[in-house]
């Protein structure tokens, strides 16, 4: 109730008293959502840990069928995209419309590159019969069964991660439209910050997935 400017702001929703309160709510909400997300991946991390302990050799053998180069390439792409995302948030906070547009487009480009590489990797697994199911073939028969579990975990984890990337790209597109209209200013930039948090979270998940899936047995 202290800042009349804030009250009159067009972006203040009716049930909040101040823009500050509104932003606090959004931030807390986003962090809680990310906590949920973490637990969502947590179930799969548990499955990963269990089977890696059960089938350590098969895990190494199966992991060698993943291309470390493309995995690392994607890791770099995502780290860069986190950087450009941070710059987009900064641009919003300083009210730079041009900056927002440039950095949002860059972030989206890097995200698209990631998904493109991922699609290529998936296609490659498909060609080599490494997709779990009746058509699954593994060169070393000793490890065939456990390797299928490895690839099940691989597809489940990277698939759910990729789904998050796709949703993230959708959110970025929505931000871009808002940025072009000049919606986000130094006073009101909560959506940009929130999507930023989400995007960083998705990147961090990948930073765990990359070594766990691609680098098993590389010492």
């Amino acid at each position: 109730m202290h800042s009349p400017d804030a009250i009159s702001h067009a972006r203040l929703q009716h049930h909040f008293d101040t823009l500050e309160q509104q932003q606090q709510a959004s931030t807390l909400g986003m962090w809680l959502f990310l906590a949920t997300e973490l637990l969502f991946f947590g179930g799969m991390f548990l499955a990963y840990t269990l089977y890696r302990a059960w089938y350590p050799d098969a895990w190494v053998a199966a992991s060698h069928h993943l291309d470390v180069f493309w995995g690392a390439f994607n890791t770099v792409a995502l780290i860069l995209s986190s950087f450009t995302m941070a710059m987009a948030v900064h641009a919003a906070q300083t009210g730079s419309r041009q900056g927002q547009i440039v950095f949002l487009v860059l972030t989206m480009a890097l995200g698209t590159v990631f998904l493109g590489v991922k699609a290529m990797e998936y296609a490659d697994k498909f060609d080599h019969h490494l997709v779990p199911g009746p058509g699954f073939l593994f060169d070393d028969p000793r490890y065939a069964r456990a390797a299928q579990i490895f690839f099940s975990v691989y597809f489940a984890m990277t698939g759910v991660h990729a789904l998050h990337m796709v949703i993230g790209l959708g959110l970025l597109l929505w931000l871009l439209a808002g940025a072009r209209r000049g919606t986000f200013t130094a006073e009101y930039n909560t959506p940009v910050e929130m999507v930023g948090l989400y995007w960083h979270f998705v990147d961090i998940i990948w930073i765990f997935l990359f070594p766990l899936l691609y680098l098993v047995g590389h010492h």
Binding site: G29, M44, Y51, W54, I149, V153
Partner: protein, 537 residues
């Protein structure tokens, strides 16, 4: 007091009457009513399935339904009741309506997300209903692998998708509550002045956002395994069926607290209001909710003493299980002590409170039998378990839910209901419930396994008793539906504060105006500040 002729002041119910104004509403009070309709529907659906189960068990032979049909009945009974009635029951209706009002806010922090959560819930419900109509599912509501992934040829995926989707509704509600309680309290509404209803919803919300995603991923993996045979839970492909049980119970045990914690919050409010006295040991009751929520996450393995889990893991789960019993005991003792030197009246909500205490005593104390590893071996997966969890999740929770509904009904609808019928229903439910489920404890100790379509003849008498009780219980649950419906349209107008209770929700008209309060409330007193001079006329 209004006279009959005076025009009704504007409130959240009469501002608009179109269907669209309901389906697109962002008002937490209207969304609470949408949820009320949804969960009442699923309660009726689940109740019909229960009716089928109880009718079949009248005779030992299994002569009413095919085994397959019976298996589908108890599965769909469990799925409908747990995921679409019990979990959302109190939080999504009373919680939705009251969390903002009790802390003096105009709405929940994210009204659109709140509406979204209702749609998500309904879509999940429709998937599950579709699965039921297309032929049903027969895995039990627990979806244990490898039966659910490799053996069952029913609609597991469709049901699983329904459960998965509805899980997000729970996550969104929990998230909304936590953010609202943190950021939207009225001036002066400090944490130690929060009504205990708020504390218990806060604790339940923590479980909703940290537990639900794990069961979601478990159900998702079951669906993937069924569709693509990926081998995560299938021992023939090298997977571990017991991993599923860990993932499932990691959520589904705390889920019990999602049902019962909000119920405990309701009971705290009602005890204070009908004893006109502050709840004894406010801080202990408040923190015990958090204690239950936190410890509750570490007891899931007590569902798995005979699953081939290591006995040392079992020991740990057993001792934690006994630890989590203490906060519940603290609550019961504090409610009892609250009555001491109170000014106790016996309106229908209070009758439900007595019913709750009775059923919760039985349900909670029988938990002690199950925590004891050596004893659990015998009663695990028997009717003893069935009776125990019905006492807690159904008996106690629904008593609290009904008590809360009767208590806040005048606020929600602006109408009074028939006090006589309400008391009749409370008594009927209490008697019917005990008659239904108490014999099941005896059956369980005798060794009758759960999910049995046919059973040895010596168990028949107890089963007949149980079915007779279920009939009484059915009447008890149906009667309020009638007098509440009547009250909604024809009931006498309710005053702003019919019970003379404290709490911000009673300081605004019934039904409340659009943004809940005509003037923004400022809080100067702790919760339940009953005193002669404050007594509301």
């Amino acid at each position: 007091m209004q006279t009959a002729a005076a025009p009704e002041p504007s409130n959240y119910l009469n501002v608009a009457h179109t269907v669209k104004s309901w389906l697109l509403t962002r008002d937490h009070k209207r969304i609470a009513i949408l949820y009320l309709l949804g969960i009442t529907f699923f309660f009726a659906v689940g109740g019909l399935f229960a009716l089928g189960i109880r009718l079949e068990l009248l005779t030992p032979a299994g002569d009413l339904f095919e085994s397959e049909t019976y298996n589908k009945l108890f599965t769909m009974h469990g799925v409908a009741m747990v995921f679409f009635f019990l979990l959302p029951s109190i939080p999504a209706t009373l919680g939705n309506f009251l969390v903002p009002m009790m802390i003096g806010a105009k709405d929940l922090a994210f009204p659109r997300i709140n509406l979204l959560s209702w749609y998500v819930y309904m879509i999940g419900g429709l998937f599950t209903l579709a699965a039921a109509l297309l032929g049903g599912v027969d895995t039990g509501w627990t979806f244990y692998t490898p039966y659910s992934t490799a053996a069952s040829n029913t609609h597991v995926v469709l049901t699983g998708v329904g459960v998965f989707i509805s899980g997000f509704s729970s996550i969104l509600t929990g998230l909304n509550f936590i953010v609202t309680i943190h950021t939207m309290r009225a001036p002066g509404m400090t944490w130690d002045r929060l009504p205990l209803f708020i504390w218990s919803h806060y604790a339940a919300s923590i479980i909703m956002i940290l537990g639900t995603p794990v069961v979601a991923i478990a159900v998702l993996l079951v669906a993937l395994e069924r569709l693509f045979h990926i081998g995560i839970f299938d021992p023939n492909l090298g997977g571990d069926p017991v991993l599923y049980q860990h993932l499932f119970w990691y959520y589904s045990h705390p889920a019990v607290y999602v049902m019962v914690l909000p119920g405990m919050g309701v009971i705290s409010e009602l005890v204070a209001a009908f004893a006109r006295k502050a709840v004894f040991g406010y801080k202990f009751v408040a923190y015990s909710s958090l204690g239950i929520a936190v410890i509750g996450f570490f007891v899931w393995g007590h569902h798995m003493y005979v699953s081939s889990q290591s006995i040392y893991a079992g020991l740990l789960f057993s001792i934690l299980t006994y630890t989590v019993a203490i906060p519940s005991a603290i609550k019961v003792f504090n409610w009892t002590a609250t009555l001491y030197k109170g000014s106790i009246s016996f309106e229908s909500p209070m009758i439900y409170v007595f019913g709750f205490i009775g059923l919760f005593l039985v349900g909670g104390l029988t938990g002690l039998y199950l925590g004891a590893m050596g004893l659990d071996v015998h009663v695990h997966d028997t009717y003893f378990i069935v009776a125990h969890f019905h006492y807690v999740m159904v008996g106690a929770t629904i008593m609290a839910y009904m008590g809360g509904l009767h208590y806040w009904w005048p606020k929600i609808t602006g109408r009074m209901y028939s006090e006589g019928w309400a008391k009749f229903a409370a008594l009927t439910i209490f008697v019917g419930f005990n008659l239904t489920f108490f014999p099941q404890f005896i059956l369980g100790y005798l060794g009758m396994p759960r999910r049995y379509h046919m059973y040895p003849p010596e168990f028949q008498v107890l089963n007949v008793l149980s079915t007779a009780g279920a009939t009484v219980l059915g009447v008890g649950y149906a009667v309020p539906l009638i007098y509440f419906t009547w009250s909604f349209f024809r009931g006498a107008r309710a005053p702003a504060n019919p019970w003379g209770a404290t709490g911000l929700e009673w300081q605004t008209p019934s039904p409340p105006p659009l943004e809940n309060f005509t003037t923004p409330p400022v809080v100067t007193q702790p919760a339940y500040a009953y005193a002669e001079e404050n007594a509301v006329a």
